[in-house]
Symmetry: C2
Subunit: 351 residues, 2 copies
């Protein structure tokens, strides 16, 4: 259930929901940033007995999305005395909802949780669809569950707290939704400023994802198309995450690069024409620039790709574009073509 604060007062709805379900305790999970910038707003908006509200704070950033942080949160939940009728509210970006959702879905074999995404990325992607997880052994989201939150509240006022890098981080998923499912939306986006998206464009993008998820929650088929850009994107992200901590790239930046390379592969396999490919590539580079990927690291990135959840038997299964607005999944792609795409991308220049 997605509640848009701009359509109805989501917080009244949340208050009623909590009271009706008689939760024994409410725990708000936030990170350093959302504790500082978003928590007071939430306190102001909800009307709940403060005695049953507790706050757990974790550091911000992908680096904390680990089993170790999960253990820290479970310890806190035990300290608070949470039982099966406790509710966890994940107030934050994708890291908070990913780890919070995971922690909740296995604590006492599953307690309820609600997502209140505070970043564009988590509004249009991580906060909806029920994928939870933490990174492990250098592999992104490798330990997790598919468990739907009881509710996701979309309150775009939180977007005012984001800097430009954080905004384009989420914008990559909006571009992705358009590329895999909605050519008109793609064209619409080409004419707009990613730093000044209007409300209806965000809702439109959420709806694209939501419809796909509803059709195939357990990702047996069509849901896989949401992974466009994420096969190579995740591998790049994991590679940088494991490497130099100072050069960590954002999820959306890695996905942007992944979308260029996976579009390139789509073109090489005759699925995407070169005009469309150039349009995709140029527009993504205009916003994201290019990530420097040395050819000496290609084999490391391939290693991460092998451990990607979507691949089986050491064969890569990609989501590719069959024209803009159309995606096809389970396409076998061999190593040399991935290396070709990495080589192509790494030699691109910003004009």
């Amino acid at each position: 259930m997605i509640i848009y604060n701009q359509k109805l007062n989501a917080y009244n709805f949340l208050t009623d929901f909590i009271n009706t379900n008689k939760y024994s305790s409410i725990v708000i999970l936030c990170d350093t940033n959302t504790k500082k910038y978003c928590l007071n707003n939430l306190y102001d908006e909800i009307n709940i007995n403060p005695d049953i509200i507790n706050v757990i704070e974790i550091n911000d950033g992908e680096q904390v999305k680990t089993i170790e942080t999960s253990k820290y949160i479970w310890d806190k939940l035990l300290e608070i005395g949470c039982d099966r009728k406790s509710l966890l509210i994940n107030l934050g970006g994708g890291v908070v909802s990913d780890i919070g959702g995971f922690v909740a879905s296995v604590f006492k074999r599953g307690i309820s949780f609600i997502n209140i995404p505070t970043t564009l990325l988590s509004m249009v992607d991580a906060g909806i669809g029920g994928k939870t997880g933490v990174d492990f052994g250098g592999v992104k989201n490798i330990i997790g569950t598919i468990t739907l939150p009881k509710m996701t509240i979309i309150d775009i006022r939180y977007l005012e707290t984001l800097n430009e890098r954080e905004t384009v981080n989420g914008y990559a998923e909006i571009l992705k939704h358009a590329l895999i499912k909605d050519k008109n939306h793609w064209e619409d986006l080409l004419n707009c400023d990613p730093f000044n998206l209007n409300y209806s464009q965000i809702i439109h993008s959420i709806n694209i994802k939501q419809k796909i998820v509803e059709e195939d929650i357990n990702e047996q088929g069509i849901r896989k198309i949401l992974n466009f850009g994420h096969s190579i994107g995740h591998a790049i992200e994991a590679f940088f995450l494991k490497g130099n901590k100072n050069s960590i790239i954002k999820h959306g930046e890695a996905v942007a690069a992944g979308m260029i390379m996976e579009s390139y592969i789509s073109m090489q396999l005759g699925l995407l024409n070169s005009n469309d490919f150039e349009e995709i590539k140029d527009n993504i580079i205009k916003i994201y620039g290019l990530i420097e990927i040395k050819s000496s690291t290609f084999h490391n990135i391939l290693e991460f790709l092998i451990n990607d959840k979507k691949n089986r038997n050491n064969i890569f299964y990609f989501v590719l574009l069959d024209g803009i607005g159309n995606a096809t999944f389970n396409v076998e792609v061999k190593n040399p073509l991935v290396l070709d795409a990495l080589g192509y991308y790494s030699k691109l220049n910003i004009n």
Copy 2:
């Protein structure tokens, strides 16, 4: 799906199942004992390409049912190169199926697993019903999921490898199933030797549990009665687990004590008559003897009870016996009555 090897050749069935589902790799999880005593039998029975079979070995005993051991197994699964089409076979007792089921249910957001219980306890309880989990923060099974195995194979030949203590460990759950649901079976059990159970008695006990689980897999109602003896039982087990490693008691021994105390509470609340209570108590003591519980430790045991998954708002919700063969759940029990039961039990003498 439960497959009884004595009814049809379960291993042919397993071989067909693996071949039909085209699993990319098979991983057998075993502990030190089952690797030594049961693995060769399994190899002899199944007819699978050995190249896709891998073995992960963990130590035996409840002490290894931790997040740390889970991380060890996930690391091994990554090393092996397991993907979403891998299959985990849990060959062992309750510890192996509990942790193996948990590890599988969250690895890459869930891979398939099969249980081959090798102890009486796991045949009649842990290996069926889909509860998975590990201990954390001193609380039993606090981190886990409810995920059904694709198949459970009951092969009573494994029981020949058990010593007496391990046999009565499982027998406690058989007594429990009779006490909560089947007075005739209880009377039948009183006249038999727990060390020489016949095959049909084991199947009968499994069927009692299986029917209850099918009715209420997520334990919203009737499934709770399977927790009879486990509220105080788990608390005692967790208390001993945290304490002196040399005095660790078995799950079934703790549950046996728990059943006496929870029957005592049932009697105190007027649900169970004193004749039935005496019959339960005497027969359990005849097999299990008594655990020494010092009155100075009662408050520690209560602490563990507070963190039990079944309790909410610091109120204990017990499963009690409404006569032999009938259980009732969600009965509020206050601290003093639990203390009374602990006091009663600790003063019992073996006649």
